[in-house]
Amino acid sequence: MDHLILRVTTKLMFAPIILFGFYVQFHGDFGPGGGFQAGVIFAVAFILHAFCFGLEETKKVLPQKALTVLMVIGFLFYAGTGVVTMLLGANFLAYDALVPNSTHHAGQHYGIILVEWGVGVAVAATMLTIFYHFTGREPDIDQEDW
């Protein structure tokens, strides 16, 4: 697409949106936010890219194959944290086992950060997968067609 203003705005907005996603991801322990919201914000950055430059360009940046792998990795990151705590001798997802000698339950903090990261990756990859599949069905529509 050849809209100069849209192209410059998208280029300006892309990095701050990703940065805001990371802020929401890792600040979820202290304020509103967390993996679900952050995952959606990550996905939105790439959707903005697709709206401006076209879906084919976005697929060069982040191909569907990578998204499929990321979807699985995200979920396995979550479940894997549970398996690790089981291997350390505690219950499934009992994070205290991660740092057993802590006096202030530091294991809970580590566990929650790991789990939320899994949620964020899985949600972002799934949202983009759904978007790719819906949008990739039909050729781009004309400006006048709206």
Partner: protein
């Protein structure tokens, strides 16, 4: 246990204004036949309910509603709309007295049930006094994080949240199976006409 009394605060006017706008947007969505307008109105509806959640002090829910409801759902609805018509087919209005009666009776029953509901913010209500109070009491000592919502979501209810991630994952896989036929044909880019021709040629040989 002391009796809880709702304090009157001017915030109630804000709530009323937001709820009125939600109601009007919902009516507008029902009456419009232009699907693009309906999708945009549903985004506005989500944003208004996010504002309403903020006024109820549920910032985490409001954030999720704004990101998922107003943001990504609107985009997905728009891209879904591209696969279908732009306008809803006009429907011939017919009368359905049984349905109207059922809706009116259910609505009346729901209104009647709100009389027994505890007041907003009542600490003695079942939702706040039993498990909720237990989490509030224990979280400060057991989990070193200020946001109690994250503590409950990721630690106390960690297994539930894993189920939610599984639900999202399943939705993605379902969409891939339904719409991503390319991968099922060996990953090649094939248009339906070519595929039909190929099938016909196979039969002829």
């Amino acid at each position: 246990m002391t009796e809880f009394e709702t304090v009157f605060s001017p915030i109630i006017f804000l709530d009323l204004a937001l709820l009125t706008m939600l109601f009007l947007v919902a009516i507008a969505m029902l009456r419009s036949r232009h699907l693009f307008g309906v999708v945009m109105l549903s985004g506005i509806y989500s944003l208004l309910s996010a504002a309403f959640f903020v006024s109820l002090d549920a910032v985490d829910v409001a954030f999720t509603e704004a990101a998922v409801g107003a943001g990504i759902s609107t985009v997905l609805m728009l891209s879904g709309m591209l696969l279908t018509a732009r306008r809803e087919k006009p429907k011939t209005p017919g009368r359905a007295p049984v349905a109207l009666l059922a809706v009116l009776a259910t609505g009346a029953a729901l209104f009647y049930a709100t009389i027994d509901m505890p007041a907003f913010g009542d600490p003695n209500s079942p939702a706040n006094s039993a498990v909720g109070q237990d989490y509030v009491d224990r979280a400060a000592g057991e989990i070193p994080m200020p946001n109690i919502v994250t503590s409950i979501l990721a630690s106390y209810r960690g297994f539930d949240t894993m189920g939610e991630v599984m639900v999202i994952f399943t939705a993605g896989v379902a969409v891939m199976l339904l719409l991503g036929v390319g991968s099922m044909r060996g990953g090649r880019r094939v248009s339906d006409i070519e595929a039909d021709d190929a099938a016909d040629n196979g039969k002829a040989e």
